[in-house]
């Protein structure tokens, strides 16, 4: 799963070397955390979250095969985090 999300995200951003993916896998849940350069976060999320939701849908299709749930979280930099409260 990590490899899949990493491939997709790296193919969308301008700074592929700044992409970090962390996978935490439990018995029934997989959590994927995506970090990218601040200027690339918008490219990973997309307009109205279109890209982020597409990544989630693909991850979900794979997780469903293993009867697992998956959560893909796109981590934003400190600045953006402050804004979202």
């Amino acid at each position: 799963m990590k490899e899949l999300v990493e491939y997709i995200v790296k193919a969308l951003v301008d700074n592929p070397s700044k992409v970090e993916i962390k996978e935490t896998s439990g018995e029934s849940v997989i959590i994927i955390e995506v970090k990218a350069a601040p200027e690339d976060v918008g490219k990973v999320i997309g307009r109205e979250g279109r890209i982020a939701n597409a990544i989630r849908a693909i991850a979900k299709a794979v997780a469903a095969k293993q009867n697992k749930k998956v959560s893909v979280e796109i981590l934003t930099e400190d600045k953006a985090q402050n804004k979202t409260i």
Binding site: I8, A11, P16, S17, A54, I55, A57, I58, A61, V62
Partner: protein, 205 residues
């Protein structure tokens, strides 16, 4: 699409070396600088090397085919992808097992793959790119069932002389119905509402 990561004394030299290795043309190359590198005192002493990722484009349909094939491989699906360019749209067809998983509920997975591929091509080519993906004849089947639905509702509207609002649909699905009923002289068809609330309405004429 050929991709390679290469180091060099500076960005320019790293790119040149990369192009040499994959015998690519600079005009077709998209370069991502992974590390700028730093010139040291007296040449390289104390400096750090630059590192670049060079992708040599082979044309939109070819590159899209490879990107989609890579994604499907990493999804653990055994498939083969074919591609072609129709007008300015890249059309991809997926063949293989487990087509249901690739299509998803109401084509949701196909749609998601289209969105991602369009984003990836936009990044490589620096322009908006249109991508459509089909698997197991899903597009045709979907169009046929939408047209059947449209015909049924149109018949009801003509009989009852009362307009009907269609259930929520994607813009692409609305378009299919719109085009199909356009030629029907007994009904008028239009959309109302904005964003997620946009619905097709079929009304008697």
């Amino acid at each position: 699409m050929k991709k390679i990561t290469m180091k060099g004394k500076n960005v320019d030299e790293a790119v040149d070396a990369a192009l040499k290795v994959i015998s690519g043309d600079r005009a077709q190359a998209k370069v991502f600088v992974l590390s700028e590198g730093k010139a040291g005192v007296l040449g390289l002493i104390g400096g750090t090397e630059a590192e670049v990722e060079v992708t040599v484009k082979e044309g939109k349909p070819e590159d899209a085919q490879q990107l989609l094939q890579d994604i499907l491989d990493k999804m653990g699906l055994v498939t083969m992808v074919e591609s072609r360019l129709v007008d300015d749209r890249v059309e991809l067809v997926v063949k293989g097992d487990d087509m249901g998983r690739i299509i998803g509920k109401d084509g949701a997975t196909l749609k998601s793959l289209e969105i991602l591929l369009a984003g990836m091509l936009a990044r490589l080519y620096g322009e908006r790119s249109y991508v459509s993906i089909d698997a197991d004849g899903y597009r045709d089947k979907r169009r046929q069932s939408l047209e059947r639905l449209a015909q049924e509702v149109a018949n009801e509207v003509i009989d009852s002389k009362a307009e009907k609002t269609m259930p929520p649909m994607s813009a692409a699905d609305r378009r299919i119905i719109h085009l199909y009923l356009q030629g029907n002289p007994s009904v008028a068809i239009f959309s109302q509402g904005e964003g997620d609330a946009r619905r097709l309405v079929i009304a008697p004429k």
